[in-house]
């Protein structure tokens, strides 16, 4: 039996790797990947808590499935935005995207 802490540590590592990637990457695509990483760490948490603490219930799994669906939709939208950005700037690096201010 794997202890719950080990599973949560994996999830925490995934989360902070995602945050780090989100803050430091320049490529919009890499940022999108980081977001996916964070979402997956949350999914993992849902699954772990469901399995370990409330084995009789299924809500955690359902939430994980919802999140996966939302993540799919969100990446579709994000990629569409990126294509549009690319058409305008010929580039998808975030530090060039400074039009959206004040």
């Amino acid at each position: 039996m794997i202890h719950i802490e080990y599973l949560l540590i994996v999830s925490a590592i995934m989360m902070f790797a995602g945050i780090y990637g989100f803050l430091t990457r320049r490529s919009t695509l890499a940022i999108l990947l980081s977001i996916e990483l964070m979402l997956n760490s949350a999914d993992l948490n849902f699954a772990v808590f469901n399995k370990m603490l409330f084995p009789a219930g299924h809500e955690g799994y359902f939430f994980a499935i919802f999140t996966i669906a939302i993540a799919a939709a969100e990446s579709a939208v994000a990629i569409a935005i990126m294509i549009n950005i690319y058409r305008i700037y010929k580039n998808i690096s975030v530090d060039k995207l400074e039009k959206m201010k004040w």
Binding site: I19, F22, L23, I31, V94, L97, E98, K99, M100, K101
Partner: protein, 646 residues
């Protein structure tokens, strides 16, 4: 008497129908719909009157019926009700309004023939009729005020019916603003009344209020009841009278009525002669029990305003050249007669010596007869204008040969308003003069003098239109002809009413306290007034009948200034112009506008400027870098988490 609700509903439905669907209706259909609904209203009103006046009297008085009364707006214990109240004066008004309105509806078929906006015209007429009927059957002052304003609006719409004519637009605005200004006092009066008595009903009995007062949210305690009886009630009543004076064109709020003649002539007959302008008289009659019980001294204000107005309007009417203006000033003068009659009513019992309470009955009687013959005069004037296409007396003359029906009916109305027996005006005016004489000989003689002037200017008008020199070039170009049947029929009907109305035993139906009594003609006063009227008519005949009028020319030359002043209506409009433009606009409105523009607006401009400047300072945070935002967000989250943990 549940069917009385239909009297209000039918014109309202016809207003909605004609107003909303008028576009798709032909002129004929629209006119027929309007006239039929009014015909039904007239039939219902006559049924109501018949049923009401044939019912059994209770203690010698016709019972006051309230077939409908719903609480329209509940406000704690002070409710605004809407309903129908039937008592002798409201039933009498139902007859007057529905009769004149029906006649005007029929007449307009001919008069407004082919006019643009014919359907709209009938829609407005229905709206007006509905409002006026609602006003007279009101169960409380608040409902009266509601319909009072509706009447003002429909009058505004009808005066401005020819909306492409600048004069009509100006007149409609003037009428609306002047009456609205007066109505403001009416509203203040109502609010004062409601606050101190805790109800909007027409009767006020402090002891009953006091006894059942445990739950009143406006507590009518003993002190308030005393105040209401002592000083508050007269104040409220006088304020309400100002509203009534505005609607009834009493001096100095009369200035809108002569201009209101810009509207179509049948409208003048309906609104500005027979019905709406007597609303002020009706209001005082409705509140009369309170006037006589709590503010008998304030009634002298009504008397003197009435006397002044009657004299002023009669003097102006003697020199006007526009026939509708003459009739307008004559209306003002006659309404002032009714006001005076109400004011001179000093007793509230119809006992053996009934002279003191005669004023109330005679005022209502004159209202009734005047509505009929003044509507007749206006409709006759409409026929004349229809024939010669001008309002000016100078383009008329000698019309009696061309328009016999109009001529004879007009003559009947002139004799009635002059006070010649057996026409209706004689009986009602004689009662008014009797009441005035009993009140004070000064008032009595002034009013007799005004009655003489009435006879004079009406016959000046009559001779100017139907006798005298023919306007040859105009008649050769366009021969005047008698109006179509739809227009002459109402004339004949109203002339018959004018002939017969004087013999109605009016005292049996309407009197101050509701008790029946017979009208006695006071022989000295009757003979005096007839002699005075005949003398005036003879004088007018002498001066104005001929083709040339040397006497009139000489009189004008002898008193040029007086003539000019009277012709210019004693410069009342100029006085208003001066007061509003030079005094109020220049010295009050302008500084206030400056204050608004610079101080009030300036303050808010400063606030906006401050927010703008602050935003400019902190906009650096919004630098457009998504990752910077995310980092800030993360730091914020961490701080919140830390705070939660600690």
């Amino acid at each position: 008497m549940e069917y009385t609700l239909l009297i209000l509903l039918l014109p309202f439905l016809s207003f909605l129908f004609l107003g909303l669907c008028g576009k798709w209706l032909s002129h004929k259909v629209a006119g027929i719909v309007g006239t039929l609904s009014l015909g039904a209203v007239a039939v219902l009103s006559y049924m109501t009157a018949f049923q009401y006046f044939t019912a059994e009297r209770v203690n010698g008085v016709f019972a006051t019926l309230v077939p409908y009364n719903i609480t329209w707006l509940p406000l704690g214990n002070l409710n605004f009700d809407l309903g129908i109240l039937l008592d002798p004066i409201s039933v009498m008004m139902l007859i007057v309004i529905s009769t004149v309105s029906l006649m005007v509806h029929i007449y307009s078929f001919g008069y407004m023939h082919g006019e643009r906006g014919f359907q709209r015209y009938y829609a407005y007429l229905s709206l007006f009729t509905m409002s006026m009927l609602g006003l007279v059957v009101a169960t409380n002052i608040f409902q009266m005020y509601l319909f009072w304003e509706l009447v003002g609006v429909s009058s505004y719409l009808l005066i401005g019916f020819y909306y492409t004519a600048p004069a009509a637009i100006a007149a409609s605005k003037k009428a609306f603003i002047v009456t609205r200004f007066a109505d403001m006092f009416f509203l203040v009066g109502i609010l004062i009344f409601g606050y101190y008595t805790g109800s909007y009903s027409f009767s006020f009995a402090p002891e009953i209020q006091y006894a059942s007062d445990a739950t009143h949210f406006i507590s009518v305690d003993a002190a308030k009841a005393v105040a209401a009886g002592g000083f508050i009630l007269p104040t409220a009543l006088v304020l309400m009278f100002i509203g009534g004076a505005g609607k009834s064109a009493m001096f100095p709020l009369h200035i809108w009525l002569p201009d209101a003649m810009e509207g179509p002539t049948p409208v003048s007959a309906l609104i500005h002669a027979a019905t709406m302008v007597v609303a002020g008289v009706f209001q005082i009659a409705r509140l009369f029990p309170m006037w006589i019980n709590y503010a008998p001294d304030a009634l002298s204000i009504v008397v003197w305003v009435g006397v002044l107005t009657a004299f002023y309007a009669a003097a102006v009417a003697c020199v006007q050249s526009d026939i509708k203006r003459v009739l307008a000033f004559s209306t003002i003068s006659q309404i002032a007669f009714m006001m005076v009659a109400l004011g001179v009513c000093t007793e509230f019992t119809t006992g053996h010596h009934h002279v003191g309470s005669l004023g109330y009955m005679s005022s209502m009687f004159h209202l009734f007869t005047h509505a009929m013959f003044k509507a007749l005069l206006f409709l006759g004037a409409g026929c004349i204008i229809h024939a010669v296409h001008s309002n000016e007396m100078s383009s008329m003359g000698g019309l009696r040969k061309y328009m016999p029906i109009t001529h004879w009916t007009f003559l009947i109305a002139c004799l009635a308003i002059a006070g010649i027996p057996p026409f209706s005006g004689f009986f009602s005016k004689d009662e008014i003069l009797t009441a005035c004489m009993a009140y004070s000989p000064v008032v009595g003689w002034i009013m007799t003098g005004v009655a003489a002037m009435t006879a004079f200017y009406m016959f000046r008008l009559y001779y100017g239109i139907f006798w005298g020199k023919e306007n040859k070039e105009l008649y050769a170009h366009h021969t005047p002809h008698e109006a179509p049947l739809t227009m002459t029929l109402p004339l004949v009907f109203l002339a018959l009413v004018t002939l017969g109305a004087g013999f109605i035993p009016f005292g049996h139906f309407v009197s101050a306290d509701g008790m029946s009594y017979d009208i006695h003609l006071d022989p000295t006063i009757a003979i005096t007034s007839v002699v005075v009227a005949i003398t005036s008519i003879a004088l007018a005949t002498y001066i104005y009948k001929g083709e040339k009028q040397p006497v009139a020319e000489k009189m004008r030359a002898a008193m040029p200034r007086l003539h000019r002043w009277a012709y210019k209506r004693f410069y009342m409009d100029e006085v208003y112009q001066f007061v509003t433009h030079r005094v109020i606009f220049a010295h009050i409105s302008k500084p206030i506008a400056w204050f608004d523009r610079h101080i009030v607006d300036g303050f808010f401009d400063f606030l906006a400027w401050g927010a703008n400047a602050l935003g400019f300072q902190i906009r650096g945070l919004q630098n457009g870098s998504v990752q910077r935002y995310a980092f800030t967000f993360l730091v914020g989250i961490l701080i919140v988490v830390l705070l939660l943990i600690l």
